[in-house]
Amino acid sequence: MSEPVSALNHAAFDGLVEIEECGLQGMIILRGDLSARAVRSAATGATGAKMPGPREVQTNGAKALCWMSPDELLILCDYSFVAQAIEGMNKALNGVHALAVDMSDARTMFRLTGAAARDVMAKLTPADVSPQALQPGQIRRSRLAQVSAAFWLEDDMTFRVVCFRSVARYTFDLLCTAARPGSDVDYFNAPAAP
């Protein structure tokens, strides 16, 4: 039996922020009418997390529901729990126009940790990552340089980033370059005035 590995197998970098590829991560895409009762209860039932509103992330331990578009949720869970979660949702969605698909191996997740996390992300995305526009619990889909990515704050110093697996190396290299020591911007992470 072959051993599943993530795209970059826990590649890590230590610079202005710590960057880590998160390894195997369960990711399920649920598409359907997010206002439909059956779809909502399938999602919340699989995770125990609350239903997120537009551009929100709702977490319950290692499980989470991320609002991706008016008809799309990204469901996070342990890699080993994916099959069981999909089976449960398919039961709940029997006869409903909706689709739950395992995307774990089609995507890659990174974690950025450090006080300069907003500054590093702001070098790569046109999205507003200021504290006024992006708070923990909110998700933004945008681009990092030339590729699409979704990102959210776990807490004030920790970003999670999801991109396609095919551009995992490109995205990792981007993040590392943006976090290279000596390239501080100190805009969001400005040192206190003397």
């Binding site: 551009r55 578009s69 933004r140």
Partner: protein
């Protein structure tokens, strides 16, 4: 830099997050139509200096299509609205009239 409000996900997205979809509110002429109508549907596009209606897709974001009304000369955005409509809603037409009294576009005013 053009910044459009995506009515589908609520994000203010800059141009580089979006994919342009060309002129809005075209009437599709297919099999059975006259050659003139089909040619016009396929090839003839407005290229106005001023008020214009376009389709845009939030390509790097929520992935949805929407409509935008803007001024091609000044990049002023009059508003964005749902893709599920065949003509600009009244609120958008009123917003344009306020800024560009007497505007017309393909018989719409």
């Amino acid at each position: 830099m053009l910044i459009l409000h995506c009515p589908c996900c609520g994000v203010y997205a800059d141009e580089t997050e979006l994919a342009p979809g060309g002129e809005a509110h075209l009437t599709r002429h297919g099999p059975g139509s006259s050659d003139e109508a089909f040619t016009s549907y396929l090839f003839a596009r407005k290229n106005p200096r001023g008020v214009h209606f376009e389709r845009w897709r939030h390509a790097h974001g929520c992935g949805k299509w929407f409509h935008a009304a803007r001024d091609t000369a000044t990049l002023e955005v009059f508003g964005t609205y749902s893709a599920q409509t065949t003509e600009p809603p009244k609120a958008i037409r009123d917003a344009i009239a306020k800024r560009r009294p007497g505007w017309t576009w393909r018989g719409i005013a």
